[in-house]
């Protein structure tokens, strides 16, 4: 059998999804189910004086209506919803229950729940619940929060939730800036993003009347984490909870949480002995599901006369939103270690202040902290290149770790050890594919001709962190769980294979990739391999899917479980063939005796023998069924070079992305087709932040663009053909040499696009452009720069 790992095998998952056979939560219905209709706060910050549910309760099909206070009094919860990442000992974390009872803290906070026999009746009744609010001052932006004149949580006395520093050597940092020839400072805003997965979130909790067990179907990335957290916060025994994530239509971090609706469904189903369900509407999702980003960054870089970096200093003000969700405070810290990028930085300092606002909570969103970091360092590197007077590519070459050459296990300024890298060849490949010299010539031609469509070329040379995570490293960050992953490989009597995956796919293609790994390891046709996942009753052990961790931790666990199977099978083969185990070769699924080509056993034959257990070595357990729990020794650090080419129409301010080149290095490849898909999707999500998306709020904390009519998720027509290429630098953190690629595109693309726009607008003296770079914003920048110049202000 030829190797299937490293080949672009078509995804096993796709026929089902493409023919509409995928079963999502909203497709699953059971007899007697009740729909929840959420009564959500229309005010960002207010005292609840009274709630009148009488009319709603009397409407047709309505089973019951509960206010937040009533739900509290029913004793549904043992503890508030969890935050698993209290980043400092003294972090403020006001209690966050699934429903508000006395005070609402953001638009969308649930104040009452209607239960009705249909979705429509639940929505109609929810609309008839009358809430008497007494408005309180709303902290409607991070600026409001920092100013501190209004408090998001009156009882805390401050909006600042925590201060988190990472300054390995403060004296060295101060000296670096004191001795610098060039100091460049950039101030950037990472606007709030609405994740907008294709499938909205939804839940269905089914109680079993006799045993008290509850099954929760939910559109989640993290069934295992959710089970532990729901048990801890509802008081329902962990062994009575079963969580199933059926087909899940995208997550991007937004389904990595323990949400009010999930807790409400489980506890109400338990209390009422009725199945309870809910599916968020698209507009509701802007309030019922956490958002991404929400940071203000101050980034400074100190360099000598040649542009060699002496130090980097970053400060982040991070918008937590109204409450700490599962990993809200940890998201900016995931990026903290990457503010030095791919560069050799002698001195480094990072600080983060987390602030509460009266807005929808923030939490993980594709890249989670790393796109923000890569944006900040890559924007200031471009600024430094102009300051020093060299090209963006040259300033990067002068500063690459290990001089741009190959390295392994290199400690960087932020105290992490990068597993492997080789940056210059990656950059060279990108510059070649982009035809950089021709682009620069064309740019100059247009500038000389005064063309109305100016060309801009933007580079981003990113590095990111995958393979989350070595459990001991998480302990150092005060994260409340481990980072291991479990995998089981079980040979069935018929010679087929069942693989049980702890990491839980929601579009990544685990069934295909894991089949490829196991096929190569065991010499079995991928079609004979079934991957089981996403059900805590089938796969009891897992840490789930986020942070591009599945392959580098979970895929590796499965590969290692295969090794255990092979080791055991070898002993059985040796016993049955009456040979020394060391005299057996294992190739293409067959153990053969060295020197005796006719003498051998297929692994399927051994599996059957292990099942009958008629002839096993003394004391050996029957069956080939091995589990591996892999805790990686280090993270993995993928890297790459992205080049964005834009045309800016100076008459309208419109930016057209005319070409995009992405050269990514995610170590060894399991399935290049899946990698290609991840790179494309990731790039579009970063382009979306750069050009299109951003949740906008008014001064009272109301979201101005919660619907997809106003919140501009780009479609395929807005995205150019993406040219991809790869370099291959195996990771040293795992035996497969793999790194992870689920977020790389997003981490590389926003900075590349904005660098390109700034490059195009350079002749106007424009040095920065905030995201999203809308046509109106770009036109106004040109207009204002030109009128300043005409008034002599540009001299």
């Amino acid at each position: 059998m030829t190797a299937v790992m490293g080949t672009p095998m078509k995804r096993k998952e796709d026929p089902k999804l493409l023919t509409g056979e995928g079963k999502f939560v909203d497709d699953i219905h059971v007899h007697g189910e009740l729909w929840m209709g959420m009564v959500r706060s229309t005010m960002a910050h207010a005292k609840i004086n009274a709630i009148d549910t009488a009319e709603a309760a009397g409407m047709p099909g309505v089973h019951s209506v509960f206010t937040g206070t009533q739900l509290q009094e029913m004793g549904l919860w043992a503890a508030p919803l969890p935050c698993a990442w209290p980043v400092t000992e003294d972090m403020l974390n006001p209690p966050h229950f699934p429903t508000a009872s006395e005070v609402v803290h953001h638009v969308g906070d649930i104040v009452a729940v209607v239960l009705a026999d249909s979705r429509y009746r639940a929505a109609d009744a929810a609309e008839m619940v009358v809430v008497d609010y007494e408005p309180l001052p709303a902290v409607a932006s991070i600026e409001d929060a920092i100013a501190g004149e209004k408090l998001a949580h009156a009882g805390l006395g401050t909006n600042k939730a925590f201060h988190w520093p990472l300054i390995p050597d403060p004296d060295a940092l101060e000296a670096a800036f004191a001795n610098a020839t060039h100091v460049v400072k950039g101030e950037f805003v990472q606007q709030r993003l609405i994740p907008a997965a294709m499938e909205p979130r939804g839940v269905l909790a089914i109680p079993s009347p006799a045993g008290g067990d509850i099954t929760l179907y939910t559109s989640t990335q993290v069934p295992h984490i959710l089970k532990v957290m729901l048990a801890a916060t509802t008081g329902i025994s962990e062994s009575k909870l079963r969580i199933i994530a059926p087909a899940v239509g995208g997550g991007f971090g937004a389904k990595l949480n323990v949400n009010p609706d999930e807790s409400l469904a489980v506890t109400l189903a338990n209390k009422l002995s009725r199945p309870v369900r809910w599916t968020e509407t698209r507009s509701e999702a802007a309030f019922s599901t956490h958002q991404g980003r929400g940071q203000k960054q101050t980034m400074e870089i100190a360099a000598d006369e040649n542009g060699k970096i002496l130090g980097v200093r970053a400060h982040i003000d991070a918008d937590m939103g109204a409450y700490m969700m599962l990993i809200t405070p940890g998201v900016p810290l995931l990026g903290s270690f990457l503010y030095t990028g791919v560069y050799d930085v002698p001195a480094f300092g990072f600080t983060c202040d987390g602030y509460f606002t009266n807005l929808t909570p923030t939490d993980a969103y594709r890249g989670a902290g790393r796109p923000e970091a890569s944006y900040a360092i890559e924007r200031v590197m471009d600024m430094l290149s102009y300051e020093v007077g060299v090209t963006p590519e040259e300033i990067r070459r002068r500063n690459y770790l290990a001089g741009g050459g190959e390295f392994e296990n290199l400690e960087v300024a932020s105290t992490l050890v990068f597993d492997s890298g080789n940056y210059s060849p990656n950059l060279d490949m990108a510059l070649d594919m982009a035809k950089m010299a021709e682009l620069r010539a064309e740019q100059q031609r247009r500038r000389d001709a005064g063309d109305k469509k100016q060309l801009g070329i933007g580079l981003c040379t990113y590095v990111e962190i995958c393979g989350l995570a070595p459990s001991r490293a998480l302990a150092g960050l005060n994260y409340g769980a481990g980072g291991w992953e479990a995998g089981t490989v079980r040979l069935l009597p018929t010679g087929k294979v069942e693989v049980v995956s702890g990491s839980t796919p929601h579009g990544q293609g685990h069934e295909t990739a894991w089949s490829q790994i196991v096929a190569d390891k065991l010499g079995i046709d991928p079609a004979d391999i079934t991957v089981l996942h996403s059900d805590t009753a089938i796969s009891p052990l897992g840490m789930d899917t986020y942070g591009s961790r599945s392959l580098a931790v979970g895929g590796v666990a499965i590969a290692m479980a295969c090794d255990k199977v092979i080791d055991k099978a070898r002993l059985i083969a040796a016993h049955q063939l009456e040979a020394n185990p060391d005299d057996l070769d294992f190739e293409a699924g067959r153990f053969g005796v060295k020197g005796s080509p006719d003498k051998g056993l297929l692994i399927q034959e051994i599996a059957f023998g292990a099942f009958t257990a008629h002839n096993l070595p003394d004391g050996m357990e029957p069956n080939l069924n091995e589990q591996m729990i892999f805790d990686p020794p280090n993270f993995a650090f993928p890297f790459g070079t992205h080049v964005a080419v834009v045309e800016v129409d100076e008459d309208t301010g419109e930016t057209e992305l005319i070409d995009y080149i992405a050269i990514d290095d995610c170590g060894n490849h399991v399935n290049p087709l899946i990698i290609e898909g991840q790179v494309h999707g990731g790039i579009v999500q970063g382009v979306a932040q750069a050009l299109y998306e951003g949740a906008e709020y008014d001064a009272e904390g109301n979201c101005k663009n919660p619907s997809l009519m106003d919140y501009l998720v780009p479609s395929p027509t807005e995205v150019p053909n993406i040219q991809t290429g790869y370099t291959y630098t195996p990771s040293t953190s795992n035996p497969l040499g793999v790194k992870g690629v689920g977020e790389a595109g997003t981490i590389g693309s926003a900075a590349a696009v904005i660098n390109a726009i700034c490059d195009a607008l350079r002749p106007h003296g424009i040095t920065d452009m905030s995201m999203p770079a809308t046509p109106m914003k770009v036109w106004k920048a040109i207009n204002s720069a030109d009128s300043t110049a005409n008034n002599g202000g540009g001299q």
């Binding site: 429509y120 509701e284 299109y692 027509t717 046509p775 109106m776 207009n783």
Partner: protein
């Protein structure tokens, strides 16, 4: 995103629809393709008690040669307008503008009459209808009447149609040799125009704009400038005069006014060349 409850009436023909409108008055809404009405109902921005479905009245779906004009049934779908050989030859701007509406699934459901009767100031098709100086035929309990396109759009989502009238036909003058242009500025292919400008030049030049006021409109200032002998560039410079453009996240009044000048300049350049 969940509409309030409503009664549903399917009308077999125009008379049945008009009868339903007469019976229910302001509480009824006609639904053709549904692509404007249903989103408003889902947001509960409109809550009609009765939805009268006219989407299956097939005898109001046609594109016929009417001698000096092309007659288009009000329930003709955008895709039929977009791909009509007759329109491509006789009023090519209308076929072209139809191709800019929404996305293919919208264009297979939405109808020309539905789009016009909705009266959205940002819709594409009113721009073409205005620039072509089309005539709209409305039918009510007392028979039918003709309305000039320039009199049709009366306010934000309001038209000259009475509450018991329905639009039945759109009559487009034949302008096979006219110069024309449609300049639509938007962010995503399927979106409404942030500003859209249509120009038809056939001896004199008609210029219409969308999303530059509370209705789709003819640009009096530009047309007057052109009639007075102004160059295209000078005429474009007055494109925003006297207008109060809407403001939203895509554009404030200053930016929309600027876009109007740029797009009118481009449209005139194309239509008058």
């Amino acid at each position: 995103m969940i509409p309030a409850s409503f009664d549903y009436v399917e009308a077999e023909n125009a008379d049945a629809a008009i009868a339903a409108l007469t019976e229910h008055g302001d509480e009824a809404k006609l639904m053709a393709g549904g692509h404007s009405l249903i989103p408003l109902m889902k947001f509960r921005l409109t809550t009609p008690q009765v939805v009268v479905d006219i989407g299956r009245i097939n005898d109001l779906s046609y594109i016929n040669d009417g001698g000096d004009h092309i007659a288009i049934g009000a329930l003709t779908r955008h895709m039929a307008v977009e791909t009509s050989d007759v329109l491509k030859a006789q009023a090519p701007i209308l076929a072209h503008v139809a191709s800019h509406v929404g996305d293919p699934s919208v264009r297979h459901r939405g109808t020309l009459g539905g789009s016009l009767a909705h009266g959205d100031p940002a819709s594409d098709l009113p721009a073409a209808i205005l620039a072509l100086n089309a005539t709209l035929v409305a039918k009510g309990p007392n028979g039918q009447r003709e309305i000039s396109a320039s009199d049709f759009f009366t306010g934000f989502l309001e038209t000259a149609l009475a509450s018991d009238e329905m639009l039945t036909e759109i009559r487009v003058p034949k302008v096979p040799d006219a110069g024309w242009s449609y300049q639509k500025f938007n962010r995503r292919a399927q979106d409404w125009a942030i500003v859209g400008v249509a120009a038809v030049s056939n001896g004199s030049t008609n210029v219409a704009m969308v999303n530059m006021g509370h209705t789709p409109l003819r640009s009096a200032a530009v047309e007057a400038a052109l009639a007075g002998g102004a160059s295209a560039a000078d005429a474009a410079a007055v494109a925003a005069e006297g207008l109060t453009p809407p403001e939203d996240l895509n554009g404030d009044a200053e930016y929309r006014s600027h876009l109007a000048r740029v797009l009118v300049g481009r449209a005139l350049g194309e239509a008058m060349s």
